[in-house]
Symmetry: C2
Amino acid sequence: MKRNTSHASASDELRISRRKPKTGTLGKALEVLDVIALSEKPPRFTDLLGLIDQPRGTLHRQISNLVAEGLVSVNADHSYVPGLRLLKLAARSWSGNSFRQLAEPHIARLHDETGETVHLGLMNGLEVIYLDKIESKQTVRMHSQVGNASPLYCTGVGKAMLALLPEEDCAARAAEFDYVRHTETTLYTPELLLGEMAEIRSSGISYDREEHEPGIRCIAAGLGSLESGIIAGVSVTGPAFRISQDEMTAWKSLVLETARAIESDMEARLGPRSQE
Amino acid sequence: MKRNTSHASASDELRISRRKPKTGTLGKALEVLDVIALSEKPPRFTDLLGLIDQPRGTLHRQISNLVAEGLVSVNADHSYVPGLRLLKLAARSWSGNSFRQLAEPHIARLHDETGETVHLGLMNGLEVIYLDKIESKQTVRMHSQVGNASPLYCTGVGKAMLALLPEEDCAARAAEFDYVRHTETTLYTPELLLGEMAEIRSSGISYDREEHEPGIRCIAAGLGSLESGIIAGVSVTGPAFRISQDEMTAWKSLVLETARAIESDMEARLGPRSQE
DNA sequence: AATCGAGTTCCAAATAACGGAACTCTGAAT
DNA sequence: ATTCAGAGTTCCGTTATTTGGAACTCGATT
């Protein structure tokens, strides 16, 4: 005789949903991995002991397991770095990602037509994760940002994606950001951010007016839907010294067309059956 | 007086020495993740149940934990794909990798001088993992292989790295490969493979004469050392229809110089102190 | 309505993780 | 050379998590 145990009881969950998914041992191991991955310098055992609230013996075993599994490598000087297995796992995940595959020709075309750097981003919680990128010609840095995450509130694709959400969700997320005023023009309060939403919603286009990095501008469009479970965005990015705001605006229809084209491919290929 | 607890009886141990690092819960979770990452099509719950020897309830919880941690995502149709968190972790691991950073300018120069695709690979067990790549100009596929793994025996960098090992280690690995004859010219036995080693050792250069993929040729040099704990390699790859074997050979000194230059940077920057 | 298949939940028993303390190693100070 | 301090590692009884079988729910099919 089973009753409704009701996993998500209304009152309990109001507080804070951060960092309490109760994933047991796995969660603890990943906390360690996260700390190692996020460290600027490869941490040594004692560094980790200070950063993670675990007894010596326990932490040591956790790290040992991570090392044994190849998720973490240990240098000669006993400092720890993320392991190659992560790269391997991520590479498979990336190259097999059907959404990315589907979007690739479209962003390639957008790149050909604009000649500037093009990004494909995916919404993930309060961040945008860059799934793909095509660099402008001779830029030195390569494939740098694939897999990188940025906050939603200060990026072109991020704002475009926010605007796709129902207003209540949008406002809820706006309230959750840890706003950092990266530049003069950063929208650093929920009010400023929400103030742009109406315009983005009606035009389908959002701009990053050097809001995240000085000298970097971008035009973006959101795509996807809640039903499909995919909220994404495409953008064209360029240096402010070469691309004026007006030139950005001129790409509006190209960017919108690209977003619409990806969406129609999504319907065609992901809709009927979730075939790869 | 270690007691053999239960499942792994003595006779089983003889079978296969692979996959027995005893990493407890973490290992089991990663086995699931591996299966999901390696699947061609996103598996559904029942598929996984067939592929992994675990009872329903257990497997379900393991997957739930992976999902809760963001290592796995679940599609609308209950099929599972690797999660975005993997990309994020790997991106940090990649961009923070000090060896890659150090090698980057050198392979960039090699690319400029040859005009062809250049790879940086790292030895990992019986495989080479590509740490970085600079594509030839207008190639369509981008950052495709970073993080990808290939067998040592049929790639240019792989053979070059093998040749750096002491002969006994080299022979030991040669005996362990699961040889697949990818093309006509694949070295598909330990004897064929070891037969090339002397030449590679003396010249410092190895060739992939369409041994992995038809129509793809490459010249490579190994670098690093056992003491440093890094065994790596650089290569220039090109299509056979455009690049003759002689043209490849002409790059010999460029490739060697690049390898030596990276090595001297390693000594300078990784040697004194493992500073990032 | 009944059946089947797929996915999900539950709980006592089994097992793996915990954590304090003891041990070893390394390099610096005496 | 000896001592010492700090870092890293191992051990083992206790504790908490994982396990795995079975029961349950939901949807599609007959």
